[in-house]
């Protein structure tokens, strides 16, 4: 019902909406490149400074946006969406957020197009600049690099939010009323990004020997026993916080800043997928837009894969640990597989009344004294992994060797009875031996000569 709108106003409004859509995409994608954005103010405007804001136009992004729009404009029932996702170096991906530019039917007939609508669209872009730095994906995008990259996808049509997992949040950036409908800009973002949803307060080991014998997990707190005195010391205390995000492998530091990372990722990962069905005028949901992008079903718990970190000089572990993110702190320290657990002597000690090693016996007695009678099944015994050892599960690896031979039996020659007996024998046989040596004295002299 835009019969009240003059042709000039209609033309202007269409132009404003088109360029607003293009600038919206630029702001969102640039905010996810992983670098800080800096543009200059200027008192003399140029033709490309739409909405009186200095927003650069990355040509590839404009091209993708125009391709998705395919000559159409966002309108009622035709939303333009920018989907931001994360892709790890192992090839796993996860949708992080979806920005939606939509229009509803609520019209504001009296509003002045060339002035009020234009200024309000400018205000909305400023709000978008602020909000893009506030959603959780911003911090992730600033740390992208070797372990993961951030990708974008533009599509046109119906909004799809199922890939964001359960409990996603929505933030409204703003609305602008126009004579043909109300433009709304919003962002739906994933909240269960947490791969480790807890934080740990770490403590230094109390004992100065620094030689950790083994780790034990009890009530989500991590304890370690020391080699020299077998004291059970708390190493890390579980302090849970909501919505912490720790991406595997990347612990801050200077992020990689490629000049045009979206371009680079397009080349590296085959293609930043854009909706092939976006070109059709029907609002059918885009289907096979991206075969590479895995969507997490909302009903599944979020499964994550991460590579176990290894110490210096240790051969890189070839196995990967997969765990659900649902509150199993230090999951990497838990026994890896059930069959391993069955064979692991540390978890299932031999049923003899005496402990299989003096070490284990003292551990158990230690735990009962230190932890005040806590049930044994709360403890998870972990293999001792000494530094500089190979991380392959040989029957006699360094850790097992160390444990088994930590308390070797005494040498027979050092026992008193034996030594007394042998001394007497030695004294008796001494004259005999001396006679032999005198006989072979030439041989000994020749040997000494060879040494000189």
């Amino acid at each position: 019902m835009d019969s009240d709108l003059s042709p000039q106003d209609k033309k202007d409004l269409d132009k404003f909406i088109k360029f607003f859509a293009l600038k919206t995409v630029q702001v969102i994608v640039q905010a996810r490149l992983g670098e800080k954005i800096n543009t200059c103010s200027s008192s003399s405007p140029t033709g490309s400074d739409w909405f009186n804001l200095a927003i650069k136009d990355i040509p590839e992004v404009t091209h993708e946006a125009k391709k998705a729009l395919a000559g159409q404009l966002p309108g009622i029932g035709r939303s333009m969406c920018v989907e931001i996702s994360l892709k790890t170096s192992e090839g796993d991906s996860m949708e992080l957020e979806t920005w939606c530019l939509e229009m509803n039917e609520k019209c504001d007939k009296d509003i002045k197009v060339s002035y009020t609508v234009y200024n309000r669209l400018s205000l909305l872009l400023k709000s978008l600049l602020a909000i893009t730095r506030v959603t959780p994906a911003y911090k992730l995008s600033r740390k992208q690099g070797h372990d993961y990259v951030i990708l974008y996808r533009i599509y046109f049509g119906d909004v799809q939010l199922t890939g964001l997992g359960e409990g996603f949040q929505t933030v409204r950036v703003g609305i602008v009323g126009t004579p043909i409908g109300t433009i709304t800009l919003s962002c739906a973002y994933r909240t269960n990004l947490a791969l480790m949803s807890s934080r740990y307060a770490l403590h230094l080991p109390v004992c100065k020997c620094w030689a950790i014998n083994c780790f034990e997990l009890h009530n989500h707190n991590l304890y370690a026993t020391c080699v020299c005195c077998f004291d059970l010391t708390e190493v890390a205390k579980y302090v849970s916080l909501p919505n912490q995000m720790v991406v595997p492998g990347k612990e801050g530091g200077v992020p990689q800043v490629p000049a045009q990372p979206t371009h680079g990722t397009a080349a590296e990962h085959g293609r930043i997928p854009s909706c092939p069905t976006g070109q059709s005028p029907q609002p059918a949901p885009p289907t096979s837009c991206s075969s590479e992008v895995k969507t997490v079903s909302p009903s599944d718990a979020l499964e994550t894969t991460f590579t176990r970190k290894v110490g210096a000089f240790v051969n890189k572990a070839t196995t990967q640990v997969t765990t659900t993110s649902l509150d199993l702190p230090f999951a990497a320290f838990a026994p890896r597989a059930y069959d391993l657990q069955e064979n692991d002597p540390m978890v299932h000690p031999p049923p003899s009344p005496a402990p299989s090693s003096p070490l284990q016996g003292s551990l158990h007695s230690n735990t009962s004294s230190h932890s005040g009678g806590l049930p044994q099944d709360d403890f998870v015994m972990v293999d001792f992994k000494p530094a500089f050892s190979k991380d392959d599960l040989l029957p006699m690896d360094l850790g097992t060797f160390y444990k088994e031979f930590q308390n070797p039996p005494q040498l027979a020659s050092l026992s008193i009875d034996v030594s007394v007996q042998s001394m007497a024998e030695d004294l008796d046989s001494l004259p005999e031996k001396l006679a032999i040596y005198e006989k072979n004295i030439d041989e000994f002299d020749a040997f000494v000569d060879t040494l000189q």
Partner: protein, 218 residues
């Protein structure tokens, strides 16, 4: 005309005060600044371009977006520094409030001075906390970053209600609506004031600091 009033509250550690205040004040000013007006003949004008700058905070896990204007940044930083000093010197429990007020000037006949009519006031209440150890500070870094994010969303929500804004002035009236003293951007006329609260909750000192050059005196 009623003045719109919004209140934001934050709890921060001492060294986070500057950045938290800058983050919120710059977010508001980003939305309340335009490009410079360039008047042409026949009463028309063009509007300059506003650039933006991302600034990472050192003591908070937060990146603020501000208008690219070093002049404006200097003015705001100076006001925030004075507020922080006042908070530190007050000997109170570290509670105070900094206000950003947008106003219009209404010319009066001589001998009366011009009237300043506020149309929007943002009050940021600050509570400074002391933390015992590094671990708490690390947690505070992140929590305050999240809180600031929520405040930015609040600010954006208010601004996008599109309530009263002063009408665009003619060339002769532009100084009644905008601060034209900066060379690269043009915020609406504003002033920043602060007050410190003592431990009893009463306002001990109200320090008014005018940061706009043109206070007309008789």
């Amino acid at each position: 005309m009623n003045c719109r009033s919004e209140v934001l509250e934050v709890s921060v550690e001492g060294r986070q005060v500057d950045e938290a205040m800058l983050a919120l004040l710059h977010t508001i000013l980003l939305h309340r600044s335009t490009g410079k007006f360039l008047y042409k003949k026949e009463g028309t004008y063009s509007i300059g371009t506003v650039g933006t700058q991302d600034v990472d905070c050192d003591f908070i896990d937060f990146t603020l977006v501000r208008v690219s204007s070093d002049e404006l940044d200097r003015v705001i930083r100076k006001a925030v520094a004075e507020f922080k000093d006042a908070l530190g010197n007050s000997g109170s429990d570290g509670m105070g409030q900094i206000s950003l007020e947008f106003y219009q000037k209404k010319k009066s006949r001589w001998p009366f001075s011009d009237e300043c009519i506020p149309w929007e006031v943002w009050s940021i209440k600050v509570n400074v906390v002391n933390l015992a150890n590094e671990q708490e500070r690390q947690i505070c870094r992140e929590k305050v970053g999240e809180k600031l994010g929520e405040k930015v969303i609040n600010i954006v929500e208010v601004i996008n209600r599109h309530e009263y804004l002063p009408k665009m002035p003619t060339q002769s009236e532009v100084d009644n609506v905008f601060d034209t003293s900066l060379k690269d951007v043009q915020p609406y006329l504003y002033k920043i004031t602060y007050q410190i609260t003592d431990s009893l909750g009463t306002s001990v000192s109200t320090t008014m600091r005018r940061l706009i050059k043109d206070t007309l005196a008789l």
